[in-house]
Amino acid sequence: MVTRRWAPARLLFLTVLLLGGSILAALSWGSVAISWRAMPTLFWQWVSGVPLSPPAMVLWEIRLPRILLAGLIGGVLAVVGASLQALLRNALADPYVLGVSSGAALGAVVGGLVSHSLHEASVTLFLCAFAGSLLTLVLLYRISSVHGLLPVQTLLLAGVVINAIFSALVLFAVALVEPSRLFGLLSWLMGSIGSADYRIVGLLFLYSLVGLILLLGRAEQLNLLTLGDESARSLGVEPERLKRLIFVVTALLTGAVVSLSGMIGFIGMMVPHALRLLIGPDHRLLLPASAVIGAAFLILADLLARSLLAPTELPVGVITALLGGPFFLYLLWQRRQGAITGD
């Protein structure tokens, strides 16, 4: 069967359309409905600096920063997932499934306990989350690597167990927290976007842009890495050096995202997987497309999270897990079929 794929122009058009559509939908829907026709007027209010009317406040001070933050986090998680899949040579890799997110969460909780600034964006929190995710990645790699290959079963089992251990440690740490802060902490742990301001959005944008450029600059080397170390090396890539770089960059990105929004799962696995079916596995296209689609996906998931039980807000991690978990099981089931037919 000939592999048919979308042309890059079509891909660009459709991804931008999807992202734009999801941003508009998320701006418009919510506890206060704001029609699209009113938006230009409200936008003018905002940029011209006149005192904002209540709908304009909702739109530009609450919804837009939250949408931007959700988009950034979704994009980062999808890119991290795609990179980890190349690094670990495994299409099911995902920072959440492999326990990397819970490593980061443990780091953030420990950092928060030490610095007494739990559930607030701080450098300490972020550095501890980074250390936690890097440690988890290295541990995972050491445990499951067999002659440079990471068999699916070993990798997933190691991830599940690491996840269990770190979650237990997180709960242990949570037990030390005073009850008044418990609700905020739990909703962060389950993954939520919550409130956002433009300062954090701007910082995260610059930060993840650097990470994305570093990964994108090695897209072709990532392609080769998926064929194994020997092929990569014989075609001019130093596999060990490249792996170290990917480890550090993905851990830095995961650390930042988890310290801001807790554990949002499965985006890193679902988005690249779906995209590979449409555009193929070439990381030169896959990474940027994952960033855009990941962004649109989390914006829509966050919209669902805040409108399903409105005025109560669900943690967005609940939505992504409910969508992603069954998808993950379906992929496993499909693989089992493949194993039987010898594919």
Partner: protein, 282 residues
């Protein structure tokens, strides 16, 4: 392509032992592979053929002695520099993602583009410019198309490699190496999964690369007849050491093979080629 190939391999007492193993996989190997040679590495299972090839390709570092390419140790060369000269066809590759045949073959062009970006890097004073995101140019597309045609892969060029048979996958890896335009081609059992028609397609093409463009070819094979027909010089390995080096007639003697394979083969002449023929005793 290398009009005047001057790439020479020199092994000085090279040895390698896998981590956690007591015995040496390759030991005390001293050998010079001249530019434009067609040489076969043969020997029983576990004699160190593939390990020796991995020492030549720079994938393994010698723990004893030295492996040099044109006077400089292979281990000290950057991977992209080595890939300018040396192409490797491994026994097999485990594909994980659905790249098409054409995409895999195009990966053989990456060393050329990396080299271009490395020269930029020098020009920019060592700034970390990377060629990891560049599109294939016209010469890349021409090279890929030629390699696909050489290996008769055009009809399946747009199929996913995950759907291919073992033999088709071997041809894809060969085409990838051809697209690399190497001065030295290292082949590890490249036709073990191919039928006779495809074996002859592969060897005709590789022989042409050797005879017309002067490329060095190093072939690892456990098939003594194939090695005898293809190589001008054979290196017989036993327990990681060189047991014998010479022309096929000098190496594939009854006495030598009796000792090595416990008297289970007969050596006579190939009916239509000037080469020895080895067959299994009934």
């Amino acid at each position: 392509m290398t009009g005047g190939n001057r790439s020479e391999f020199r092994l000085n007492g090279a040895g390698y032992r896998y981590p956690g193993r007591a015995d040496w996989a390759v030991r005390d190997v001293t050998l010079t592979i001249a530019p434009g040679e067609r040489i076969g590495l043969i020997g029983p299972n576990g004699s160190g053929k593939s390990t020796l090839l991995k020492l030549l390709s720079g994938f393994l570092r010698p723990q004893q002695g030295e492996v040099q390419l044109n006077g400089s140790p292979v281990e000290s060369m950057a991977a992209w520099q080595l890939a300018q000269q040396v192409a490797v066809v491994p026994q097999s590759v485990q594909f994980i993602f659905p790249f098409t045949v054409r995409e895999i073959v195009a990966m053989g062009r990456l060393p050329r583009r990396l080299a271009r970006s490395e020269s930029w890097k020098n020009w920019l004073g060592g700034l970390p410019v990377s060629a990891g995101w560049s599109a294939e140019g016209r010469d890349d597309r021409v090279a890929v198309q030629a390699a696909l045609a050489d290996m008769e892969l055009e009809p399946i060029a747009d199929r996913s490699v995950l759907e291919l048979s073992g033999g088709e996958r071997q041809k894809v890896l060969l085409a990838r190496a051809l697209a690399q335009h190497p001065a030295i081609l290292l082949l590890d059992e490249p036709t073990a999964a191919l039928d006779w028609h495809h074996q002859s397609v592969v060897y005709r093409r590789v022989r042409a690369l050797n005879e017309e463009q002067g490329a060095t070819v190093v072939l690892v094979s456990h098939d003594l007849n194939l090695a005898a027909l293809f190589a001008r010089r054979l290196v017989l390995l036993d327990g990681g050491r060189i047991r014998r080096i010479g022309s096929p007639d000098e190496v594939l003697t009854q006495a030598e093979l009796d000792a090595l394979y416990a008297q289970s083969v007969v050596v006579d002449r190939h009916p239509s080629a000037d080469a020895p023929r080895v067959t299994l005793k009934p």
